[in-house]
Every structure is written in structure tokens, then in C-alpha cells.
Symmetry: C2
Subunit: 325 residues, 2 copies
């Protein structure tokens, strides 16, 4: 049988609610529980289950691994929030603000180990590939975060470098979640690798959409404040392309806004968005997103399962790539 | 053939000098290289090689794993130094002081993943047990650090709690290093478990000696400043036992010193040491160390290899347990 995305999400939620990963001392696991509780789309474990469900129906077999991937994702959030000194995550206080940095660092470390333990709950024949794949993913995520931090103090980041950074920081874990599900369902190597490629493009679509929605999103639908990236001068694909493609006058104006220390936030957001509009950045970003959507479809086409089995992945792609307002 | 401890140390050094674990971007691995360079006894990888050498001579086969364990140890140091806000490690600036906290957190994370990658370089038949064993060790080390931090703000830590904490924080990795070497050399389960017990006691001896030498050590021989634990009110086994066993007058005096905010450091060290002397804490500590030495010998006796093969482990035990001055 084929599960709907909502059914898979419910299964993941039910499993997370068991909190089977919590050990003694409670103080070490409480921050993990806290960050895991805050909802979110559970995109990664759902993708693992979806990929498994391409080939097999007994999805409970991959559940522990899938939860492990969600725990891994939350470990990276715990540490990233310390490094970015973020105040809020999905509207709630971040763990290092609720407790302190040491708690977030050490509970993050414990979460990483917990993630490894759970992800490795696979049949022996898949163990080596699970480990190798997961180590590669984990290291790529680290590298992505390193580039992200380095880019903050650089003024010459190219679009290519930015795309490589978000690929490492965001796409690779999404790709790895899908590959893992397919691998342990017994998919042939060329297919779980095609699914990895598919996930890589999907992750790029996901991140570029996020950047896009920060400028052109609808507050109510997006659920985040609009213009946060503009206010913090975040070197997104849109900003990089604007600096590359704007007219000399707009380029000078944009640089001026980037350097201003004091400004009215609403005015800065409006002014930068106007430059984006005049430069056609909206279309540039949408074209890039469409390009990756197309590439993801090509990768998915290489997977040799009945077309109707791929329906969920198509839904997911349209959902992620379709968040245009 | 049986390698001497010095030969094994040289092999480990030669392997570390290759820096085979360094990847791109260099900025992510430079702090790992930096902390790995600072020498130290390389106790853990040497123990892995020694344990392997109990059964087999082709020690190169376990070298990648052994280096992985050293990298894991250094990952814990990178993060612990951030959490303790330590200035110096073995006389050199700590990584988070040389760079910053974010660098130490993220490079620490990368070191942990690197460690996992290297430790898992074992034959497939040992992979599951390697992973399970190492996940357990890594989690215990985390728990030990958690208790250590919690004990800082508690005034009622018992000797038993302290010993459990140092067992988790220090002994378990030493025990795991030895177990891993024996496991992948093909040792039977009861023997690699006996060696794990042996390493656990050895680690307790190691840490209690360190505490002891902080009070009664010879500066030149110990290589550290004497009295650091006394100045920082560290709740060592010696302090806990002194608070338990001292006369009412000495107990009051000790409490007074623990609460004093301003004092002459040399005077505090002298006064606390005098209380220890009057209470017989030197003998209490030595008796505990001797007790663990004896238990380590009993565990080693369960290992069914020719007695002469165990000679290196006896040397190591005497060396670690014999640092009395």
C-alpha cells in the first residue's frame, strides 16, 4: 500500500511522542526533547519513509532510522543556534537562550550520538553503506555550516559558491534521508543514487524558495516575518544576483543600503525589494527554482518503480516548489 | 612479536604526522590539526594497539581505528574547553581562545564525525560490535561531562557519585580503546569484556592519581601547577573524603576556605593540604588507588593469553599507578 504524506507525518509524530530516545540523566536529554517538540514539517523522516515506501510497505522497519535522521537534524539546529546566537526558532526560545550555551553544546553532542545509534538500526547487509553514507552526509552538513559562517565576512561570494554552500548545508541531509530509505528497502544502487540526486535538487528548491519567500512571500502563508534576510544583509542567491545584474545606479544604491548602519527597517526592505523588482530578480530566482525542479524530475525518472508509486514524491516536489506566494 | 610501548607511541606519532584525516575546507580542519599536534601521551591509541598486540602482530590493521579514537578524544577536549572556558591546554592556548567559540564547536563536530569514520575502518564481521561499543562509549563520555558540570553547583556530591562521574568521563574511553583493539584482533567476547573492565579500573587509577598529584605531586615531575584543584574548590575524591572524615574543627576550617572569596593562593593550598594531612587523606586516596590497581590485575588475569604477552599492560598499569610523587 502507498501511504499519504499526512499518514507518514502522523506515524512520525506518534513515534516521536514515545520519546524512546530519552536516557538518564534527564538533564542531558531535556533540551533534545525540547527542540524535538517544536513541531515543524518532519520533512526528513517523512522522506525516508516515502523512499522506503517506493519499494516496500512495512515502513515500521525503517522508523527508528527515520527518527534518527530527525534527531540528527535537530542536533545541527542546537549547535547552529549557538553559533548564530539565534533568539528564536519557530517562535520559541532557542535552547541556548532557555538554558545556556554549555547545555546546548553538550546536549547537541548527545543528540548526535543518539542519532547515530538510531540511524544504524538497520539490517546487517545495509550497515556499512548506511554508515558510510551517513558519515558523508554529516561531514557535508558541517562543511556547509563552515562556508555559511565564512561567507558572512566575505563580500565576494559568487552565486556558484552560495549554491554549493546551501547544497551542503541543506540539500545533502534531505538527499541522504531519501537515499537511506531506498537503500534499506533493497533498492538497486543506481536507483538509491538517483534518489539522492533527486533529493539534492529538492533541497536546493527548498532553500531557494525560502530565500524567495523572505522577499516575496505572504506573511500569513509563509509564517515568518518578511524581509529578515534583507535586514541582515544575508548573501542569498537573490542578493548575489542583484549585485551582479543591477544597473550601475541600482548597484550603487544597493551597496549603500548594505553599508548603512542605521535605517528604518520597513524602508530598507521596501528600497531593496524595489531594486530587486527593477533588476528582474524575482524572475531570475523563479527560473533557477524551475531549473532545479526540472532536474529533480529527471532524477526521479531514473527510478524504476511503477509511476504511480512516485506520486508522493511528485506531490512533495510540487508542494515545496510551489510555495510562491 | 611484541611491541614496546615506546615503539607503539612512535607508530602512532608517525601516523598522526601524516594528517590523513584533514579534508577541505582547511579552515574546518585546522583547529583539529592544532589540538592534535600538542603531543600528550597518546594513551588511548597506544592502548588500542597494545590490546590488538595481545593477540596479533599486524598492528597496522587497527591503526586507522586507533587514530580515530585519538581524534574522538580531541573532539571531547575541543568542546570541554569551550564549556569550561579553559585558557590553556598542555601549556598552549586552547582552540576557542586562539580562534573563537564557534570555530571550536564546529571543528569539534567535524572531529567527531572524522572519528566515527576512522573508528569504523574495521572488517565487516566486527562492524556492528564496533559501532555499538563506540556509541555506548561516546554517550557515556557525554554523560560524564554532564555530571561534571552539574557537580560544580552542588555541595552534596558523594564519593560514590564522584567516582561514577570520573568513570564515565575518563575511564570509559580508555576501557573502550582497549576493548576495540581486542575485538578487532578476534578476541573472544569474555576476554574483550574483561579487558574493558581492566581499562575501566585503569582509568579510575589514572584520574585518582591526577587528583592526588595535584595535591602531593612534584611540580617538576608532574608538569602541572600544584594545587589547581584546591584553588578552584574542585570536588575531587580527596576533598569529598576530607569533608566526610575530618574532625569537626577541621571540617569547619575547610568549609571556611571553600567559601572565602579573597585569599592568598599559596596560603589556601598550604592550609587545605594541612587539613588533608591531619585527616589522613593521602592514605585514603592511596588506598583507593591500590584497590583499583588490584581490581585491574584481577580483570587482566581473566584474559587467556600467555602471561608474557600481558607484560606491556602490567608496565602501563605500574606506570600510571606509580606516579606517586
Amino acid at each position: 500500500m502507498m501511504y499519504t504524506i499526512q499518514e507518514l507525518r502522523d506515524r512520525v509524530k506518534a513515534e516521536l511522542d514515545k520519546q524512546a530516545y530519552v536516557e538518564e540523566p534527564y538533564s542531558l536529554f531535556e533540551p533534545i526533547k525540547y527542540i524535538m517538540e517544536d513541531g515543524g514539517k518532519r520533512l526528513r523522516p517523512v522522506l525516508t519513509l516515502m523512499a522506503y515506501n517506493l519499494y516496500r510497505d512495512d515502513i515500521e522497519k525503517v522508523m527508528t532510522s527515520a527518527i534518527g535522521i530527525e534527531i540528527f537534524h535537530n542536533y545541527t539546529l542546537l549547535h547552529d543556534d549557538v553559533m548564530d546566537d539565534a533568539e528564536l526558532r519557530r517562535g520559541r526560545q532557542t535552547a541556548h537562550k532557555k538554558w545556556n550555551n554549555n547545555v546546548a553544546i553538550l546536549s547537541g553532542d548527545a543528540a548526535a550520538i543518539t542519532a547515530y545509534k538510531q540511524i544504524e538500526a538497520v539490517d546487517d547487509i545495509y550497515l556499512r553503506r548506511t554508515i558510510d553514507g551517513f558519515n558523508q552526509v554529516a561531514m557535508d552538513v558541517c562543511k556547509g555550516q563552515q562556508y555559511d559562517m565564512e561567507f558572512e565576512t566575505r563580500n565576494d561570494v559568487t552565486a556558484e559558491e552560495y549554491l554549493h554552500m546551501i547544497y551542503l548545508k541543506t540539500s545533502v541531509l534531505i538527499a541522504g534521508s531519501i537515499r537511506h530509505g531506498a537503500l534499506v528497502a533493497g533498492a538497486p544502487e543506481n536507483e538509491y543514487n538517483a534518489l539522492y540526486d533527486f533529493g539534492g535538487y529538492l533541497g536546493l528548491v527548498f532553500q531557494l524558495q525560502d530565500d524567495y519567500l523572505d522577499v516575496y512571500g505572504d506573511v500569513a502563508e509563509f509564517g515568518k516575518k518578511i524581509g529578515g534576510d534583507i535586514l541582515s544583509n544575508k548573501k542569498t542567491y537573490m542578493l548575489i544576483k542583484a549585485l551582479e545584474l543591477a544597473s550601475p545606479a541600482d548597484k550603487a544604491l544597493l551597496q549603500e543600503w548594505l553599508q548603512k548602519k542605521e535605517f528604518d527597517p520597513a524602508e530598507k526592505i521596501r528600497a531593496v525589494t524595489e531594486i530587486y523588482d527593477r533588476t528582474g530578480i524575482r524572475e531570475v530566482a523563479m527560473a533557477k527554482i524551475d531549473d532545479y525542479m526540472e532536474k529533480s524530475r529527471e532524477a526521479l525518472a531514473k527510478v524504476n518503480v511503477p509511476e504511480e508509486r512516485k506520486e508522493r514524491f511528485r506531490e512533495m516536489t510540487e508542494y515545496i516548489g510551489g510555495r510562491r506566494k
